[in-house]
Amino acid sequence: MKITIEITYLIASVLFILGIKYLGSPKTARKGNLFAAIGMFLAIAATLFDQQVLTFEWIIIGALIGSVTGLVMAYKTPMTGMPQMVGLLNGFGGGASILVALSEYFKKNPNYPVNAGLPFDLPIDQGIAIILSILIGGVTFTGSMIAFGKLQGIVTGKVVKYPLQHTMNALLFLGVIAAGVYVVMFPEMINIVLIISVVSLILGILLVLPIGGADMPVAISLLNSYSGLAGSMTGFVLGNNVLIIAGALVGASGIILTMIMCKGMNRSLMNVVLGGWANAGSTSATSSTTSPKGDVKSIDSEELAMLLDSVSSVIIVPGYGMAVGQAQHAVRDLMTVLEKKGIKVRFAIHPVAGRMPGHMNVLLAEAQVPYDKLYAMEDINDDFNNTDVVIVIGANDVVNPAARHDESSPIFGMPILNVDYAKTVIINKRSMNAGYAGIDNELFFYPNALMYFGDSKEAMTKLVNEIKNL
């Protein structure tokens, strides 16, 4: 029996590896997801035959609650709510890890009924794994809940600063490590294990709270990585390779996404994790005196429709504003009417546009925009020069030319979409408010820039109707 279980775990591990591999290409992605799901099914089925598993009612109750919740979440969450959902899922993974680690710890305790009277036995390696599992799982759980809260608007999306932020976090972290070493040496200290758990949970809150809304793509992918590592640690606790392998794959994928997101902002991971653009507040105060003030020209839907009537190429640049306004379907309609006129329409996607990796791609896919019309920054940035009109919808910092030349700007050095190189740039925004970095966007004052004010969905719908009426 045991050997059959082990072989099944091996097959599951291989299916996870193949699944992740196939998830990397649009043609095979669905197959990859299915492979991984079959792997999971096999792993769960094998575990049910483990000789440790003797009662099934609690497993069935837990599985029912989890399955129904997961099912409802998967089908009821609108695509605009995807960042929150992914955030929440990360958290449940971490939560499961800390719970399993604590459960395994209690199994080793002499007071635990089954072990009563037996000599205490917590091997050092398992002790270390349990502590790390509690730490990473705990941080992932509460950190993801805060990330979810920020994305859902329950917790402020702003950069939160509190006194002695870094000192306090460093002390708490070192405290957990020190207490962990103590528990490994004296495993009977239940209270210390509980304190470690609570501090880990607090640490998750404190680490994610300072991270601002626009840095969420980094935070979400980092937490994704943590949820995998937590799973690996649980694997060390149980001495089970399938958990170690699956967790490591997820950990690696999360780290790679994190690095892509950091590169998209030209910032180090440390800089993001420590919270916000280093001096956003003070720098913007000084740079606003040097930033170009002058007249912004605005355009209404009728004039814009006429302008678009005579062009041959358009690039649409979506940002978080499109997600907030749920304008993806209106944007698709705009694409359709423009294409009917024989205009070449493409989309330029900045790597950190939105609130999670690939956020814009998912929204536009929902609106049935074919994915081969979506271009990554490096693939389209040289084409703005010979493009007639660029339409920026709810994006700000990622199109701010100050990032290229203004060394005093907090976003200096961040790779941006070169929308200002196009003949005309239309910027759809609700107001002249500054973007996330809290700085003015000099693009709005450029001679080739025209502001098209209004809520993204309303503005696009109006524009589509004007074009149809021409």
Partner: protein, 94 residues
């Protein structure tokens, strides 16, 4: 041999990290979100540990923790795989 078990697990972990890096390095931006939600579902593998705790013969504190862990991990597994499939179904070439 017994004392090398832990080391063997560290081996597996190290190699799996490298496999992960090799597999994922070239993922197009279009698939970033599905990769995240799909890998998320895979991290629900913690369900194995949760089942081992919730299925113990005697009802103890470990059973309660295991029960909650089963629910959490199952949300991850079911929610993750289904939402990924729902997303991937939308991705179409023209």
């Amino acid at each position: 041999m017994e004392e090398y078990f832990f080391l063997m697990h560290v081996y597996v972990f190290a190699l799996a990290i490298f496999v992960g890096f090799e597999l994922i390095t070239k993922v197009p931006p279009t698939l970033h979100t599905p990769l995240m939600s799909g890998s998320n579902a895979i991290s629900g593998i913690t369900i194995v540990g949760a089942i081992l705790s919730a299925g113990l013969e005697q009802f103890t504190i470990s059973t309660i923790l295991g029960l909650i862990a089963v629910a959490f991990a199952m949300i991850n597994v079911i929610g993750g795989f289904l939402v990924t499939d729902r997303m991937l179904k939308m991705f179409k070439k023209k």
